[in-house]
Every structure is written in C-alpha cells, then in structure tokens.
C-alpha cells in the first residue's frame, strides 16, 4: 500500500462558513488505485472536504495536490479537467437523452453541427471495455433504474479522464440488489486503475469496499488507517468520540390490549392491495419492505394524502373518514413524511414557523396570528425534541438533517395525535440523531400512541418495533414478532412468506 503513489494529498486544509469551522486543518493522502472510505456523523465535514477536492469550494488555507502537483480548482469544471470528478447525491443526467449521449455529454463527438454517432459509439465502447458495465447505449436514461443511472455517471466521469471519483452517499437511494450492483461497479473501476473516495453512512459498505478509511469529527480528522484494522464499533466510536453500544435496547414495554388503529382491506391499486392490520395503543409496528413495495403508499392512504379506492379505517373501534391530511390530523392521525425536504419542511421558512405549521390555529385569534405565541410554542417544542439551533427565526434549510427531522417530530408533539406514522425518519441522519429519534418514538409509544414505523434499514426496524409487517408488491407478505430472525424477514422482502416458502 505504501508503494502506490498518492493521487491526491491534502495539506492542512481549512474551510470556514461564517462561524462554522467545517474543515479544520485536515491532512491526508489518498493512494492511487484504491477505495478510500470517509466516514463521520452529519456535519462532521466529509462532504465539505470532498467538495474542496472537487473544486466546488475553495479552501481558506492549506493545499491540495493532485498527482503531486498543487492545484487550485476554482469550480467543478476545473476539477474535472484536473482529473477529479464528484458524483453528487442527486443524479445529474439528462433524462430524455440516451446512455451514450449522457456519458459523452459536454464532449459529444460531432461532424459539423450533427452528432457523430459512429464516433460516439466507438468512444462509448472503449469506456465499457474498461469497466465491463452492461448497459444499452441506446436506452433513455429516464428508463433506467437508479443503480444503472449511477453507472452512467461513473462512465461520464471516466470519459472525462477522471482518475479520482468522489461518491457522496451513492447507495442512499438504492434498493438492496442495486447496492450489490453499485459495489460491483466500484470494484470494477478501481481494478482498472481509478481511485474512489466513498462517503457513506453505511459502515458495512465502507468496511467491505474500502482499502483505507478516514474518520472525521467536528471538521477534524480523527484518524486514517487501513480498513482491515477497523470494525463497525471502532468506526462508530471514532465518529462519536466515545464508545457507544451499537445494539438496540430490545426490551419493550408490552403494548396495551386496546386496539387503537385498524385498517381493513385498504385498496389503491397497484401500490396498495387488500391491506389489513391493527396497531395497539403503545405499540410500535414496523412496515418493512423494499423501496417501491408500497410501504409509503399504505401510510399515505391512512393519512388521507392519497385517496383510497376501497377499505376502512377504524380509530378506537370507530370507523373514520379520512380524505385529506387535514381530516386525518383533526381525528388524531399524524404522519411524518418520507422526504423531509420535499414533503416535510418549508425550507426557506423559520424553525418556528415550521414547528407550528400544523397547528397554526392554536396561535390564532379571529384570524390574526400571534407571533409571540408562535415563538413561545416553538421554543417549548424545540426544547422537547432537543433541537439545536442559534435562533428560532433561522430558516430550516440551515439545519443539519438530524435537526431538520427533529422539527418534524416537534410538529408531531404539537399536534398530539393518537396515531403516529413515521416514514424513513432516520434516512441520512447521523448516529446520535438516530438514537434520539428511536428514543422519541419509544417515549411516544409509552405515552399510549400507536406508532407505524417505516424504514429501509432492517436492523433498525427489528431493533425498534414490537411487531414487523413486511410489504411486498402492495400486500402484507408476512408478520414477524420477536425474537426476529433477520434472514426470514429479509426473505419476505423478496416475496417469501414468514415460514420460508415462496
């Protein structure tokens, strides 16, 4: 390992945003032809550091050397020309263009004003020869699954002669089988001489793919070392600064016998097919399954966000009509939606306004809103959910993912529902925030709420829930109770019933 030259070196890199010291005096070497893992809690400075490498940000001080030469990329374009390419968390492709057009975008071979299809294919084939990616060059990108779209991005980076490709949370939006494909892609390109910086919250992924791994905390480098010397526990300990037990507290308070929420024969084809289940007061029920299995759609139907074509919803034994979120909230059902940025928060509005959004009428007299009362309510809610901020008037967009999620929990506390649906509340939040969310859910259940918990992370579902329902193609495929056998639950994701039969 020491023999391979460094493709990138950072020397005392510092970056400050206002009062936040995002990256503090970081120095590291990235050996060529390897996968370099970069881990840390949200806000630890990983993405900022990566963006400095790629030319998105310029460092306040310090030096970046690519292939031994000091570089100062002023923008991502210069970064690409210098051989450093960053795959953003969002896919940056032209959906209506073909695979080969996207790969060569910005550098399309042409003959006069027309694209040179032959040359395009020749260059594309060269790249595929390198990577062995199996894609139809003529397919429109919009028709591809996300893992394949990522391959297109990787090919594009390679077509631009990238020797270092930075991937920021590449597997966050992928299903389990797509993750396998992504990992294969990464191994293929590294085998052929490229270098990859892998930023990921999925520690197993980092452990299995990377050769070296760096841990960051509060903008500082905790340590860099060979991945073989690390374990999930050692990485977590480095990230949070103290040794944390990673197992979940598996003892739950036994739920009440009273059934709080019943759904009967919910239908909204094709996503929801004849779904029936109960949740007791004080119970956390997990809704697990692959992305696209219908989990979120079931939740949205119960919350009135999508219209049911048939079925019945009962609260404490009483049939209720839920045809809009407003109606659901009025009857005591609240949902924290899947995507906090797109569906949860008004990002440009203040923390206070976001916290009180669902209960504005409480602060209203004869149509006039009391700003003082909103502020008071918001302060109290923020305290309850342990929200960290400098000013309650600062926009929600300025908070970290974990704190943004806390706003939504604060909103739930404010609404005080009897049924709480939470869809992927821990996606993209750091470990400490995740623990906080689990504790909050447990508290809410202990207070007698019926909780429906949706997550793509199977460990988490099994660790937190009293009972787990697996959804497959819009149906409840199987039901599990502790002690859980993870393999059985996972098998149900792919269509097996709870007893291992297909």
């Amino acid at each position: 390992m020491t023999a391979s030259p460094s493709v990138l070196e950072a020397r005392n890199v510092v970056k400050t945003f206002g009062a936040t010291r995002a990256v503090r005096n970081v120095s590291l070497d990235i050996p060529a032809g390897s996968v370099f893992g970069l881990v840390g809690e949200n806000g630890a400075g990983k993405s900022t550091l990566a963006k400095i490498f790629a030319g998105v940000h310029s460092p306040d001080s310090g030096e970046v050397l690519v292939n031994g030469e000091a570089v100062t990329f002023r923008n991502p374009y210069e970064g690409i020309r210098g051989g450093v390419s960053m795959m953003a968390q969002e896919i940056m492709l032209v959906p209506d263009a073909t695979v080969e057009e996207n790969v060569l975008l910005g550098n399309l071979p042409r003959r006069g004003i027309f694209p040179n299809r032959k040359e395009m294919r020749r260059r594309y084939d060269e790249l595929v020869e390198l990577t062995k990616f199996d894609l139809d060059p003529r397919a429109k990108v919009a028709t591809l699954r996300i893992a394949d779209q990522q391959k297109v991005e990787i090919l594009r980076a390679l077509s631009q002669d990238a020797r270092l490709i930075i991937m920021d949370e590449p597997s966050a939006a992928l299903t389990a089988d797509e993750v396998v494909r992504l990992h294969a892609s990464i191994r293929q390109i590294v085998e052929r001489g490229a270098t990859v910086i892998l930023i990921s919250h999925f520690l197993e992924e980092v452990l299995s793919l990377s050769d070296r791994v760096a841990i960051m905390r509060d903008g500082e480098l905790v340590r860099v070392g060979a991945t073989v010397d690390e374990t999930v526990d050692s990485l977590v300990a480095g990230m949070v600064g103290k040794s944390l037990v990673t197992e979940y507290a598996s003892v739950h308070r036994a739920p009440d016998t009273a059934i709080r929420l019943s759904v009967r024969h919910l239908q909204r084809p094709p996503a929801v097919q004849d779904v029936s289940f109960d949740i007791h007061a004080g119970e956390i029920v997990g809704l697990a399954g692959l992305i696209g299995s219908g989990r979120s759609e079931i939740a949205r139907c119960i919350f009135g966000a999508d219209r049911l074509s048939a079925g019945e919803i009962l609260l404490d034994g009483q049939a209720v009509s839920v045809s809009s979120p407003k109606q659901a909230i009025d009857q005591g059902i609240f949902m924290i939606p899947e995507s906090r940025k797109e569906q949860g928060l008004v990002l440009g509005s203040s923390i206070a306004d976001n916290l009180t959004l669902a209960s504005l009428d409480k602060a209203t007299t004869a149509g006039v809103v009391s700003g003082r009362r909103i502020k008071q309510t918001a302060q109290a809610l923020a305290e309850k959910v342990d929200l960290r901020f400098t000013s309650i008037a600062q926009p929600a967009v300025s908070l970290s993912g974990g704190n943004q999620q806390k706003i939504l929990f604060g909103r739930a506390v404010d609404v005080a529902p009897t049924v709480l649906i939470v869809d992927e509340p821990t996606r993209g939040v750091d470990i400490a925030a995740k623990r906080g969310i689990h504790a909050t859910l447990q508290e809410m259940a202990d207070a007698g709420l019926a909780v429906l918990f949706i997550s793509s992370e199977i460990d988490e579902v099994l660790g937190v829930c009293n009972r787990v329902l697996v959804v497959h193609r819009g149906r409840i495929q199987a039901e599990f109770r502790p002690p859980y056998v993870q393999e059985d639950v996972l098998a149900a994701f792919f269509g097996k019933d709870g007893k291992g039969n297909a």
Binding site: K326, M335, V368
Partner: protein, 314 residues
Amino acid sequence: MLERVRSYGIVGVFAVLFVVLAISSPSFLSLQNAANILDQSTILLIFAATTTVAVIAGIFDLSIAAVATAAAIMTVNAINWFGMFPGIIFGVLFGALLGLITGLAITATNVNSFIGTLAASFTYRGLGLILAAGGLVSIADKEVAASLNGFMEGKFLGIKGAAWIALAFVVIVGLLLSKTIFGKWVYAVGGNREAAYLAGIRTQRVLVGCYVLSGMGAGIAGVIYAGRYGSGATNAYNDTFVFTAIAAVVVGGVSIFGGSGAVWRGVMGIFTFALISNGLNLLGVDTTYQLTILGLLIFVAVAADQAFRRTTRA
C-alpha cells in the same frame, strides 16, 4: 452582510434614486410632485399588492387587468341598475367572483396558473366586450357620475380619493399577509406546497383565496376607473399593468419561486418605477426613450439580485 444588501437592496436603490433626483431637479422635492407620483401609481399599487400575495403563494394571476376592465364595465352597469353604492359594492364583488371562478377552475383541473390565468384573461376580456355590448357604457345619472368623480379626483390632505383607496387596500393586504393565519398559509403553500398539504393545510383553498383577493383588487381598480371616467370601456386596463406589477414585485425582492417576500416590497418596486419615470420626466429625457431605459433598469436590478444570491450561497 451580503445577504442584507440583497434583502434591502431595493431600499438602497430607492434611496439613491431619491437623493439623485432631489439634487438634480429642484421641483422633485415638492409635495405636489409626491402627490403626482402617488396618483400615477394608484392602480399599480393595488395590482402589486395582490400580485405579491400570488407570487409568494407560488402562482401568477395574469388575468387581473382583464378582470379590472370587466369590473369597470360591470360597475357602470350596476350603478345604472341599482344606484351608486350598491353598484360600487357589486363591482368589487364581481371582480372577486371572477377571481373565485378562475381559482376554482385552476385548482380543480390542476392547470398551471400561468397558462390558466392567461386563458382566463382572454375569457374575461371577451366578457367585458359582451357586457359593454361591444363598446362603451356610461353612468346615466350625471349627478352620480359627478359625485363619484368628485370623490376619486377630489383631494383630501393633498392626495386624491382614488389614491387613498389604493393606500388603504395596500395596508389591508399587507396586514392580511403578515398578521393573519391566511398569510402564514400563503407563505407555507408557496414555500413547499406538498409539505403544507401534509401538515394539514387546505392548500387548494389557500390558492383559491389568493385568486379571490386578486379579483377583489381588480374589482376595486374597476370601480376607480368607473368613478374617474364615468364610464366603462373595453380597453380600460391593458395587460402592461399586469407585467409592470410582476416586474415591480420581483424588483422589490419577492422571490419569483414563491415562499418569501412582503407587500412593502411590491410597493417599493412600484415607487421605484414611478421615481424612475418621474425623474426622467423632470430631467427632460424624451419620453421616446423612457420605456427602453425602464426595461434596462429592471433587468439590471434583477441581474444584481441574482449575483447577490450566488455570492451568498457560496
């Protein structure tokens, strides 16, 4: 710091213009000139106020000039049918009704507001033609016409009646937006419609409310026209009013993407425009060039805003 420059840039631009004009033209700093500026801006103030609310909610209402025109004609008709006061109220409510129809049609079909209100605009211009039987309608009772004109054109504390109406309307819309629950909903719907919906806000109703408000403002503009001229004409307000109002709102610093802004910003935008054209007049610039200069200045203002946004983000 830069954020503050961006946020209050319009105030700075206004102040600089004001000082430059005050120094370079002795007649600028007179109450008479101020009253003139206000008088010329009357209708645009009303339009800018409702357009601010619409843009913050994430929609456009391009039909306001057409609604105001139809309302002017309807007001004259209604005064002829029911008398002065019922006629005035009828005119305002007629504008609100057209706004309600636009709003219900657009929210029910989920048509894009830009194109939906453009279609509504043609429809209501046509409706004006029908109501005016193809031409011009006049208030039949000369006394009523004279007293209405006296109110609109007569001065109280140096300011014309019509301008007082516009000022009062702007203040009310400003309070509606900043102090009421409806205002909070408008910001939420414009900031993130899906999030607002999932937080239990009836987003469709909020949007319909914005269209009704726009229609009501246009109705008031219609009444002012009927009062000023004693008649209603099919060309009472052309669509330049709509585009000027939108430009003023954006120049004032209201985000074109919705979710942020304030009524005072739209007002500052209008006054900045008025100051520019007033200044060009006082400085003796040929009116032939004024529109071109105004257009270029709008572009410069918006480009500067973009530049600031970029710097503050990095």
